[in-house]
């Protein structure tokens, strides 16, 4: 059993610009040169410039951010990328010069790459929850937003409690930072420590809130007295309104609360009630998890004193970047591509994609490479009931773990005649294109995502969603 409380952590080493000048200049110069080279080669999306620059000057992140007016870190299991992109878009719309890292590049090398690419006034940095400590050791963040802590790739961060302890230590290094925390996640609220500058966002009871949940839960033990928590209701996964029957621990009141939520396949709308007023928000992003992303980004923006009208305007048009849920048209078909990386992500994706949809063929492409998580047992922890109830024409299982996916579906009630196991990704797409339905829904793990997009493009698919402009300054 690990205990992480009361650790003494050295304060942030705010690096002075003067020391080791040569090393810093060399790091920045080489990093930018490599970035330029990649731009010439038209190969974006690499963290190599930052990786090399950090090799030369390990304190580079601290050095590069020391001259920013605000440094904001977004971390947590799900929703980091969407929250980061949305917040950056809002701040940019408010006239600020914003730098932020592009999708997935949330390890130190990716963060450094984004910071190298250009200079700004505000940095919005998506940081991997497992390596937050490496960043806060040198980056004196002004604000940390924590979206949620859900079960994700357990063979990497094998237990959430240890992860929470590591995040807690990482936050102790930046005692002056404002924390923006998800009130509905008991693991996240346990990170509030003894601070005054903590703000909570959360979701009031909705018509979709449930008294029980069929998902496998984590983090439902009281962080204070370690008894099982009780729930008045759940929103999704272990997010909801909880209390401890033994001690006084309970969901804190949300300073930024989403109320009167309406959900549809075309998006969501809700009132954001905050200390100074009320803001009506409408988003084209469907799904309750996106409500949380909007809530986190809008709450942070309000805390940063951004004009509420600007926030509402950006939220109303913001669509997630490539890969979160991308729609293509190809021949006579409409194909949707979506990333799933953990049980909650799969549960929510199925709930969102099946809602109100007619006959479609689903393609689940599961890999088990390092970036996907080697262990695929999490498939069995997802709530796949929305898929079972959907009028699916067929379910294709693909990828290195196609068989595991198929077995999971078979035992949950899908007839073998409705299942097709095609491990090869190319072959699975060709089979999907031959299906007698108009719609194809492709859910895939991390390493399959880029692959499927490439396969679809190679067959002439046209993206229906305008991708976000590149945000890290590289084309």
């Amino acid at each position: 059993m690990s205990s992480a409380a009361a650790c003494t952590v050295p304060g942030p080493q705010r690096v002075k610009w003067g020391e080791n000048m040569l090393r810093a200049f060399l790091a920045i110069w080489i990093g930018r040169l490599v970035a330029l080279l990649f731009r010439w080669l038209k190969r974006g999306g690499t963290s190599l410039p930052g990786y090399l620059a950090l090799k030369i000057d390990p304190q580079l992140m601290g050095r590069l951010t020391s001259r920013y007016e605000k440094v904001i870190i977004v971390t947590g299991t799900n929703g980091k990328t969407t929250t980061t992109n949305l917040l950056a878009s809002i701040l940019r719309a408010a006239g600020l010069k914003v730098v932020h890292n592009s999708e997935g590049a949330n390890m130190p090398a990716g963060v450094a790459t984004a910071l190298l690419a250009r200079r700004g006034e505000v940095a919005v940095l998506e940081v991997d929850e497992g390596t937050l400590g490496l960043v806060t050791r040198q980056v004196k963040a002004d604000m940390v937003i924590i979206t949620n802590l859900l079960r994700d790739q357990l063979d990497r961060y094998h237990e959430l409690e240890q992860l929470a302890a590591a995040i807690s230590r990482a936050l102790a290094a930046i005692p002056a930072a404002t924390l923006v925390l998800n009130a509905d996640d008991s693991l996240v609220t346990s990170l509030s420590q003894v601070r005054e500058n903590v703000h909570y966002f959360g979701l009031a009871r909705t018509p979709w809130s449930q008294a029980t949940t069929s998902e496998v839960l984590e983090g439902h033990i009281c962080p204070r007295c370690r008894r099982p928590l009780q729930f008045n209701f759940y929103h999704y996964s272990h997010l909801g309104n909880y209390y401890c029957p033994q001690c006084s621990y309970s969901r804190p009141p949300a300073d930024y609360e989403a109320r009167e939520l309406e959900l549809s396949s075309a998006g969501a709308r809700f009132d954001l009630v905050y200390p100074a007023g009320k803001l009506a928000l409408r988003t084209p992003m469907p799904g309750i998890y996106n409500v949380y992303n909007v809530l986190a980004a809008a709450s942070a923006a309000l805390l940063l004193k951004i004009d509420p009208a600007t926030i509402a305007r950006v939220v109303a048009t913001f669509l997630p970047g490539q890969g979160r849920a991308e729609t293509f048209s190809l021949r006579d078909k409409r194909l949707t591509l979506m990333l799933v990386k953990n049980p909650t992500g799969l549960s929510v994706a199925l709930k969102t994609l099946t809602a109100g949809r007619g006959k479609a063929t689903y393609l689940l492409a599961i890999n088990d490479l390092a970036a996907d998580g080697r262990d695929v047992s999490w498939l069995w922890d997802a709530d796949i009931s929305p898929l079972l109830q959907a009028p699916y024409h067929r379910i294709i299982c693909a990828g290195l773990r196609a068989g595991d996916m198929a077995l999971c579906l078979k035992y949950q009630g899908v007839k073998e005649a409705d299942l097709k196991v095609i491990p090869g990704q190319e072959e699975s797409v060709d089979f999907l294109l031959g299906e007698p339905v108009d719609e194809g829904l492709i859910l895939c793990t991390y390493t399959n995502l880029a692959l499927y997009r490439r396969i679809l493009k190679a067959r002439g698919a046209v993206s229906e969603v305008t991708p976000l402009p590149s945000l890290s300054g590289t084309p």
Binding site: M1, D375, A406, L407, Y411
Partner: protein, 246 residues
């Protein structure tokens, strides 16, 4: 015919798809016309040793396992009584460790277990994780039992019979090639995946053990396991350290 299955701490010990095992047992019984009744038993509940044919105990994260362990040790005598009377049991990972004699933490503290299996566990530094295949003699087939393991503890046999011999992977402790433990009709193992999904031979073996207490030798009609066996073979071969060696 009816199978009475007791699922211990389903809301606490639920890592790595372990609940899938209960679903698989239920389906494989129901497909053969055997009725299945699953009873969840958790903190503070009484456990009637005579009421169940099969017990299932999964693994959990540290904190949930800590919460469950004290309660389980209190229920220990009932569980032992049931196993002595012939009930079958399947315990995975953390559940397996809790049913051993004790767990010694990295600080040297000794946490008592139920003592059903004559094994003990010590905290280790590096987690033992990855795909694993074992040979289980009782199954009477060369087909391996495959799964995924992920555990920090090293378990050592103190007289208990192992469930199987490691073909590849780490097993109980990464050193002696043993995996899991047996006592009468009880099985403890580190394999998840979930375990029974790709091992229909083991699932049926467990069903037979569970049913024989009340119904004697039971002949289970064969099912169409084409998919299960194909996945077992494909995953087994993919992770063989040197292809063709076996």
């Amino acid at each position: 015919m009816k199978l009475r299955l007791c699922h211990l701490y389903p809301e606490l010990l639920n890592l790595y798809g372990d609940r899938g095992n209960v679903l698989i047992l239920r389906r494989r019984a129901e497909w053969r016309g055997i009725e299945v009744e699953v009873t969840p038993i958790s903190l503070g509940d009484k456990l009637d040793p005579k009421a169940y044919d099969l017990f299932f105990l999964g693994g959990g994260p540290d904190q949930e396992q800590g919460v469950a362990s004290a309660d389980l040790v209190a229920k220990g005598p009932w569980l032992k009584e049931a196993v002595e009377a012939g009930a079958a049991l399947l315990a995975i990972c953390g559940g397996y460790q809790l049913l051993g004699e004790y767990y010694r933490t990295s600080t040297g503290e000794t946490l008592p277990g139920v003592g059903l299996f004559a094994v003990y566990t010590e905290a280790g530094n590096k987690r033992l994780k990855g795909n694993i295949a074992i040979q289980v003699e009782e199954l009477g087939t060369d087909r391996p039992v495959i799964g995924f393991e992920n555990h920090g503890g090293r378990t050592f046999l103190k007289g208990a019979r192992p469930l199987g011999r490691v073909i590849y992977g780490d097993g109980n402790n990464g050193t002696d090639q043993t995996e899991g433990a047996r006592y009468r009709n009880a099985i403890g193992t580190y394999l998840h995946g979930p375990l029974l999904s790709k091992n229909p031979h083991l699932a049926d073996y467990l069903l037979r053990l569970a049913l024989q207490r009340r119904y004697g030798e039971v002949e289970l009609p064969p099912l169409d396991d084409t998919l299960e066996l194909a996945v077992n073979e494909a995953v087994y071969r993919r992770f063989l350290p040197t292809k063709g060696k076996w």
